[in-house]
Symmetry: D2
Subunit: 352 residues, 4 copies
């Protein structure tokens, strides 16, 4: 248990917010995938701070270096090590927090578990850790792309303001006003992200323990600040009757289709051919400029305002992480499914 995602397509991440570097090792990537440092630019920028007025002002170019596993522009099947050097750290910002248990943060639980902690910028618990996931997700998304599948995500709520599918939250006046209010108050606000996976054939996933939905839920809840995850109609199904919630099937022009998608594209842990749809709730960021009561490791009850560069809302930057994690989980399940039937095994085996 720790920092390694997956069983077959495995991603081992490392790095602290203000350490030398963040990165990951991907073990189990097939050979023959074209991969170049340019592939990482877009997604890394999407997650990077400083990319909008609604994100932390810290500047991180987040250039991904490929240390291994790629030869002449193609993956070789060997582990792919991706490295992102940390720059622009202002560790001094955090010195007076070394002995504080910040409200809403993992400072206290890290100390309880490990006895000591790297307090600089949140250390391992920083959102910066997710840059390694986004980098690994780029590789996973490229694999999915070759199979005709995509994992996309968008901001679905800024506080109480819901954002419609396809709408850019920065164009939503109510959301922007809501966010501006929070920022002006030195406060932060909760949010939500919707993630959609399309292009997957039916039959990806497994029953019982490692259901595709279960693994996706784990991946989503592993993102800092996530407070819940739901699939398809989600918690709305609690108030529904079976007759309205059940997804039926029908043959249309020789193809079997679902007549609704309340299940969100996964039935009994296995993809059903419809769009996989999930929503992840995020709490308001814990670092706020307002005064808050909390305690120190030395036994004092104090009031502090968190200085430094912090995000007022999680969803905009978390979108890139959500999509990356979804892609990592799906690739793992696609590979796991190649030995589903003797027919598949024999076919690949004979073809070599």
């Amino acid at each position: 248990m720790g920092s390694i995602f997956g069983d077959i397509f495995r991603v081992a991440t490392f790095g602290e917010s203000h350490g030398m570097a963040i990165g990951c090792v991907i073990d189990g990537c097939p050979s023959g995938l074209a991969l170049d440092v340019q592939d990482f630019v877009e997604d890394m920028a999407r997650r990077a701070p400083g990319n909008s007025q609604y994100a932390s002002k810290r500047k991180e170019p987040d250039n991904v270096e490929i240390l291994s596993g790629v030869f002449e522009g193609m993956t070789t099947g060997a582990p792919i090590a991706l490295l992102i050097y940390n720059r622009d750290q202002k560790s001094a910002d955090y010195d007076d927090l070394a002995r504080v248990f910040r409200a809403g943060h993992g400072d206290y639980t890290y100390i309880a578990k490990y006895g000591l902690r790297d307090h600089r910028g949140g250390g391992r618990a920083s959102g910066r850790e997710t840059s390694a996931r986004v980098a690994a997700g780029v590789v996973a998304k490229k694999i999915l792309a070759e199979l005709g599948a995509t994992a996309t995500s968008h901001v679905a709520a800024i506080g109480r303001v819901e954002i419609a599918d396809g709408e850019d939250f920065t164009q939503n006046k109510e959301a922007v006003a809501h966010l501006d209010d929070c920022i002006a108050a030195g406060d932060s606000i909760g949010s939500a992200v919707v993630c959609k996976i399309n292009g997957l054939p039916t039959g990806i996933g497994v029953p019982v323990a490692d259901k595709l939905s279960a693994d996706l839920a784990k991946a989503m809840m592993s993102i800092g600040g996530a407070v819940g995850v739901e699939f398809g109609a989600g918690f709305a199904s609690v108030a529904r009757r079976g007759s309205e919630n059940n997804d039926g099937f029908a043959w249309c022009d020789g193809k079997l289709v679902k007549t609704s998608n309340n299940a969100g594209g996964i039935m009994a842990g296995i993809s059903d051919g419809a769009e996989i749809y999930m929503k992840i709730g995020f709490k308001p960021p814990s670092s706020i400029a307002m005064m808050q009561k909390t305690a120190t490791i030395d036994g004092d009850n104090i009031e502090i305002a968190i200085k430094g560069r912090h995000d007022p809302v999680i969803a905009p930057r978390a979108c890139a992480v959500v999509g990356a994690m979804a892609a990592i989980v799906v690739v793992n399940h696609v590979f796991g499914g190649l030995s589903d039937t003797m027919e598949k095994v024999k076919r690949l085996f004979v073809l070599g």
Copy 2:
């Protein structure tokens, strides 16, 4: 990927609804735990059908046999095999469903994945599979009990009717009326379960990939019919500001306490000493007596009513499964945490 839960405390389950037996093998249970077949009776009965008017009428005594790993009433450290023979199966009830993709069920996805399926009573996808989890959960809960910790659960909603903590839903007139309406209509209704883990010290869990919250979310979403999971304030945090949502700390009589528990007892993936609180949403059961449109494997669009003995609501019986899965996950994390610090490792190593 498949039917094995956990890394250190591992539970491998097996069995189909109408096969010979259901069961599990627990690998990684410490020696020296008192264990007897009587330990299983209460939880098995709680999950068993036929235990109330709001559950399937199928009678399953669900006696658990201990095949291995226990000697003279104590676990030996060897794998514990638990076996529950299936009885009272009425497979004939399902014969005319062999070629039907029941609405809301995994019939279609199983066929898509495996090319064939055991259609009798849902086969591996049946809720009956969870009896093996409940049996394994009994062992996990006994381990937790020796550490002073508990995992409990209760029905939190029957359809739109919320059930308060400590309230028995069968005493709630509105809930009962709601449920009776559904049953009378040959329909089913959604529901929710709240699970609470108490008595855990601070520091259980890990950061990043295998967060305690992430592993719990996976375990919950692996239960048939689960549509979402949330921790603490959950999705309600989406509409909140940081200043109201942040859990502060305070020293009280020399002890550090949280001044609120919006996080639901887990911060940065690690238990924070407060009650772990999560809510799981369940869809209405898919098997209903009302006519529904769906399709067959042969290319026909049909209307069917599902005969046989089916639950009108999931939560009452799922409570036992939710508690069992929570206990399994926590035990796995407790064991994983024994090597958290060099000090712990040395202490145990020296003591032998």
Copy 3:
């Protein structure tokens, strides 16, 4: 860590010598494999005691029951639980050994690790545990058979007497005389088994950590009594020069072949198309009828002769176990290799 073999094709074993039953759960077997209880008869008999004058006289019919995972004669992709009830146990034979640390046995190390132990017939440490492996091996060998591959084994040495390939050791007069001498003296003798895997294409295995040779070595050393394992020319290569030991390649009639097989069919952890050849050494069984000095848990130094029905040599019965474990490892690697290249992944994915 414990009693589960494999990553993708996983086998969780359980059971003690004199407990109720021995068995295993196979998770990750593809659907569509014909499987019947008759398939197990031959291999189970090969491992079973009482099958020759050179094996323990204990009678165990070792009937394998299939509890799950098979429907209408075909595997369904669900976990396959295999059960072998113990019969003919004479636990009373072992009562006076409850407090003895038998020379050469795991009695002491089990107590050191677990604090208590099931002493009856060696409990979990008994060779009887391997019957579950043989049962799982039958499934693995059936999978390999469909791919045109085999894992076979034969007795390669009885004490100092080497047995040639293809020779039945019971026809070798020197071996038989050697063995009869040991039996007459109430003693036991060491032995060796050769295992060959044929019909595998080039490219099965992985580099670095989980080399096919490394996983095979682990599997062989996990068999009770194994003292060493070597591949191809093995330890004989230590005294050789590179010019005589290197396996060259040559094109013959348009096919690439190895010009020798000192590597034993695996190069850099990956099968090279030649026969995989390994030899496993076994110590003489520790239970002998001669008087031996040893100690008790109570602090006494004693002399004892081990009564009961014991094998004078390991190899004859271990052959079935060696072949089973080899097959289990190879199947795991075959499945793991299905995602080796993007081309393979795409081909299977598209074909569905």
Copy 4:
């Protein structure tokens, strides 16, 4: 399956001989271990080429950088990323080998598996890969040192010349002459390494699948060039009788001791308190300056002499790798054993 060692103390390695860097990520190292770049110098030098006249002349300073997981000189419990930049690569040396299947090398099996390969200096299959293992082993050995345990190794044979325990092979005239002969002939020679683990208490390891001996055997066979591994008396036990091979027990001054150590310190997969003793055989290095027949990917049968800087014998440099791998395996088992008994679990849990 791939390049990750271990279950709890996990080491994910990456890097090719002539890529940018070699390294590893260690997940599961406890907090509170003092760790500094200086700790790596001695072991890295021991493995490094150019450290004696009997090793490749390639110069690699092999400085280890710590990228994460260490704060103010102590491990934090977070993943430890270790990086070794490659320098002094002469890739051009390998250009004319790009299409050759070198005799005895993995060139062909890599192509068979992955369809393409990084041919420069052996790529991922190069012995250079082991530098990451040695770096990880330094961390494992430091953990063992705090527990009073050590993993050491020495050259045990140079070709047919055996080297006694405690003897430096470079002082053995026969070994040196043998080696000089091989070098003069442009040839290479086989060798062996003995590894000893001392200071471990009784009770480390597990029965059945993941026996300590089985995991050590896997780790040893995962080292490039290993051809076999044996424990204690090893293959010599094949020719022995039980009465001479059995390790008895005796109480001496109130302590239980083994009266011999033919088992090599592990009984039934669990450490027995005696020295763990194993021997690993290595083939002669495959890269030799003599002319050899082999084939190309283009269908040609050719003769080539391998130019460049190559080791004439494996054992001297492999010693560092053997000790590192042994330490990694033992630490993994030590951590796994912390939940062996309810008493241990409770003690740690209460103490926090």
